[in-house]
Amino acid sequence: MIEIKNLTKSYGSIKAIENLNFKINKGEVVGFLGPNGAGKSTTMKIITGYMAPTNGMVNVAGYDVFENPIEVKKRIGYLPEVPPVYLDMQVDDYLSYVAQLKQVPKGELSKKVQRAIEKTYLGDVRKRLIGNLSKGFKQRVGIAEAIVSEPEILILDEPTVGLDPKQVAEIRTLIQTLSGEHTVILSTHILPEVQATCKRIIIINKGKIVAEDTLEGLNRKMRGSHQILLKVKNVSDLLKVQLKAVNGVLEIQDRGSGNLVIDTMEPDDIIMERIAQVSIQFHAGLMELRHLEGNLEEIFIKLTSNV
């Protein structure tokens, strides 16, 4: 669906992005991750045809962004960092204006506006001026703007900035529901957001891709093993020895206050069961037992500080 080859953009002597290469397939939800100033927004702006790159090629749905920008723009819904809303317009007027700009046929206009309003829960404010809405609502109007024309591709630049936790959860659910029908690129530096919504992650730092994989894949690569967290009331040396003896356990780290992190060969349920049995057998007082997965934060910090 989206193919990027050797993409470079420099502002004067500063290279915002350098030689980016990646591919995004139809229906995928891809998280575009990186610290502030890593080049996320620049890359997105180039994909949308808003900005021309210094070098390289972007192909969207079979069209080259620079030779056929109109065709590409028809297929993309884009939410920039700052939602591009007119403060002196009503919500539904604004959405129908956007839909017209995106060349939605007249007959489908009101239906599509209605759908976007429903999906972003804007029903109560549809007749209000956007300028009088709170920041979170403006952000939702921005998301509605991106999805109103039902584009094949959605590019969302930090979509949950400024929302309260309930709204963040709603937007994440929304993105998940959109994932089937749309290809979504989501940029953020909020890690749980990526964990919650994206199947594949591209981590970018200082204009270069430092990792590109699924969340599990990244975990595996970074750790080389799997980890289980065991929390017990009484930690004893006997318990540790017995746990170590369980088939498949590689290493046990004592993190204090009853937390034991157990490295295992594979995320195996039989090992989990054995660990539970051992801790009960030795009256350790089992309180918590779970797979330690997806600690993206660690991966992120490792990857972005190495370069």
């Binding site: 920008p69 920039p80 204006y97 700009l101």
Partner: protein, 256 residues
């Protein structure tokens, strides 16, 4: 193509008609024009009561005494009012980042500029429409020279359209509404003041050129009914030139 620019124009006009800004401009414009047209009529009255000088053929001429005076004054007012209406066009869109929406929509930058141009022309037409009521009201009690009146207004509209194009260009090159207003007014004034060069320059070629590029000179032609093709072509090409420049400025955002 035409369709998409109309979407933008319609939205611009609707937003203007819904907000207070346009009505404030309309009100102030009406206030000013009421004042000046009353004064012009009074001047004409005083003039008509004076004994006519033998040999001078002026007498009381409603066109040169009233319509021409009024059109000059309206022109002067438009020079200041039109930038007030156009300075928001792009400066505001840039500032509120709504330009991002336009530039990522499947429309060309040319469509955007034409849409904005059409919307501003519509607003200018409504100002001219109001100002037209004043000579019209005079026609109840006096006989006007309609063809001269209409040619004056055609000239006025063309000149106003040039100011609109200049205003759009100034709005495109700045993110500040005030800066773009000042740039537009200065450019407009320059188009008028340039005529002085023709009086100070001794080179006949320079004088010819300056006479041709002076907007006020072309407006005078229209007011006197001496409409020339070269005048129309000049004003139209000024509009095209500034629309083209504006489009280039908008397009350049992609390459920054």
């Amino acid at each position: 193509m035409l369709n998409t620019s109309m979407i933008i124009a319609k939205k611009e006009i609707r937003t203007n008609l819904k907000g207070p800004g346009f009505y404030i401009i309309l009100f102030l414009f009406t206030l000013l024009i009421s004042f000046v047209s009353y004064q012009t009529v009074m001047m004409l009255k005083i003039k008509s009561q004076m004994p006519s000088v033998p040999g001078a053929d002026d007498g009381v001429n409603l066109h040169s005494g009233f319509v021409a005076q009024l059109v000059y004054l309206i022109h002067f007012m438009l020079l200041l009012f039109v930038p007030a209406m156009t300075s928001f066009s792009f400066a505001e869109e840039r500032k509120t980042r709504t330009m991002d929406l336009l530039l990522t929509s499947p429309i060309t930058s040319f469509d955007i500029v034409i849409g904005k141009l059409n919307a501003s022309l519509f607003l200018v037409l409504s100002l001219l429409g109001i100002s037209f009521l004043y000579p019209l009201s005079l026609s109840i009690s006096a006989s006007l020279d309609w063809s001269l009146l209409i040619s004056s207004y055609v000239g006025l509209f063309l000149v106003a359209a040039v100011y609109v194009a200049i205003g759009l260009f100034s709005s495109a090159i700045s993110t500040s509404v005030i800066v773009s207003y000042v740039i537009a007014v200065v450019l407009n004034l320059f188009c008028i003041f340039v005529v002085w060069t023709s009086q100070t320059s001794e080179n006949p070629l320079v004088r010819d050129i300056v006479n041709h590029i002076s907007i006020s000179k072309h407006l005078t032609d229209f007011i006197q009914g001496a409409v020339q093709v070269s005048g129309i072509v000049f004003l139209l090409s000024m509009i095209v030139f500034f629309v083209f420049l504006t489009q280039r400025v908008i397009e350049s955002a992609r390459w920054k």
